[in-house]
């Protein structure tokens, strides 16, 4: 905790709020009960601004900015809800659904999935872009866990938790654009990974059913994310 916190004031959706100067807009909005959708962002890991769902408008700038990496400044005027933002967020969500094969009705994470919940929250009732039916595959070589690339949204939470918290850096990204995949070690089967400690942190931070524990059937895979902010706090407070 900063000893002499530099406090700034700003407005979010017309509401006056105060914050520490090193806070992000997303953190301040959440502290004040203002909902901004997010998918790659999770409390306790470095924000990367990958999913773009938390886009916001800042007065004076024509650009949309991801709230998870936007630092607050004095006098900043932030808008989190507008027709334009709704439109962008909905298109982003639709493209996420269309890119891989998210079939909620047969998914282990049905009912516990952040992607599914976001569609419900923002009222996305159908996908207007054509589905791609990309063939991506499943790796079930690990003793306890499965990675199903059909359900991966490339949020990189698994990559970050493995690197920043577990310190193993088993996960990484391969390829560009729609050819991107999360991989273990040097693109080896997960079960043959020399670095994986089988701690399961990646599984628990995964927002969808892409990472799951073996033996779970449809709708049975609920994740436990509570450990993460606690671990981060305990390490930084020392």
């Amino acid at each position: 905790m900063a000893s002499a916190a530099h406090v700034v004031t700003l407005t979010i959706d017309g509401r006056d709020v105060s914050a520490n100067a090193d806070d992000t807009v997303l953190e301040v909005a959440r502290e004040n009960g203002i909902f901004i959708p997010r998918l790659c962002n999770i409390d306790g890991l470095t924000p990367v601004g990958a999913c773009r769902l938390c886009l916001i408008e800042i007065k004076g700038s024509p650009k949309l900015v991801p709230a998870c990496v936007a630092k607050v400044t004095e006098g900043m005027e932030v808008t989190t809800k507008s027709e334009r933002l709704d439109r962008y967020r909905r298109v982003i969500l639709e493209m996420l659904f269309a890119e891989r094969n998210h079939i909620c009705s047969v998914c282990v994470s049905n009912g516990h999935c952040e992607l599914q919940a976001l569609a419900l929250d923002i009222g996305m009732t159908h996908v207007r872009v054509p589905y791609r039916y990309l063939r991506v595959g499943i790796d079930a070589s690990h003793d306890r866990f499965i990675v199903d690339h059909n359900r991966c949204v490339l949020c990189t939470r698994c990559v970050r938790v493995c690197d920043e918290i577990e310190g193993a850096h088993t996960w990484d990204l391969l390829g560009r654009g729609t050819n991107s995949r999360v991989i273990t070690d040097l693109h080896q089967p997960w079960g043959e990974s020399d670095t994986c400690t089988s701690c399961g942190k990646c599984v628990n931070v995964c927002p969808t059913g892409a990472l799951s524990i073996k033996g779970h059937s449809v709708a049975e895979m609920s994740k436990r994310k509570q450990f993460l902010p606690y671990l981060t706090l305990m390490r930084t407070e020392k």
Binding site: I103, S105, G111, A119, L120, G123, H126, P130, Y131, R135
Partner: protein, 178 residues
Amino acid sequence: MTTKAKVATVWLDGCSGCHMSFLDMDERLVGLADKIELVYSPLVDNKVFPDDVDVTLVEGAVSSEDDLAKIRKVRAHTKVLVSLGDCAVTGNVPAMRNHFDTIDVTNRAYFENAALQQQLPCEVVPKLLDRVRPVHEVVKVDVHIPGCPPPADVIHFAVAEMLEGRLPDLTGKTRFGM
């Protein structure tokens, strides 16, 4: 005598679970019966789709040549077309075959998994399309109700709204999956 709204339901490539959910409206169906006339449905006897239907609820994805012909006819004779459930809205489980060639899918069903009389169907069974598609990729859809199946409460809400001449806002009411 007030005229009743003409309502139809259609069953394409789906499991009929959405129709079961429709029936799950239970006693509310009695109330609806005063306001609607079910002019065509797997639940009634009429074999020909009528010319002027007010609301049609479609269950299932567009998967075969028969589905395609049916949905085009339905669209042409319906004022408000509703995709009911995940198969109609997303392709859902039927679309999982899109990862394979149609010939491999039919061989799997009629040769590899058939114990007796291994042969491709040559009559009655409609020819599969190359790809299973959600209804709105084929014809214009006015209302989408996701869910596998959509809850009876949501179907009731949507039908009631449409009877009042409104397109239902389903934000926060029903999600993909169960």
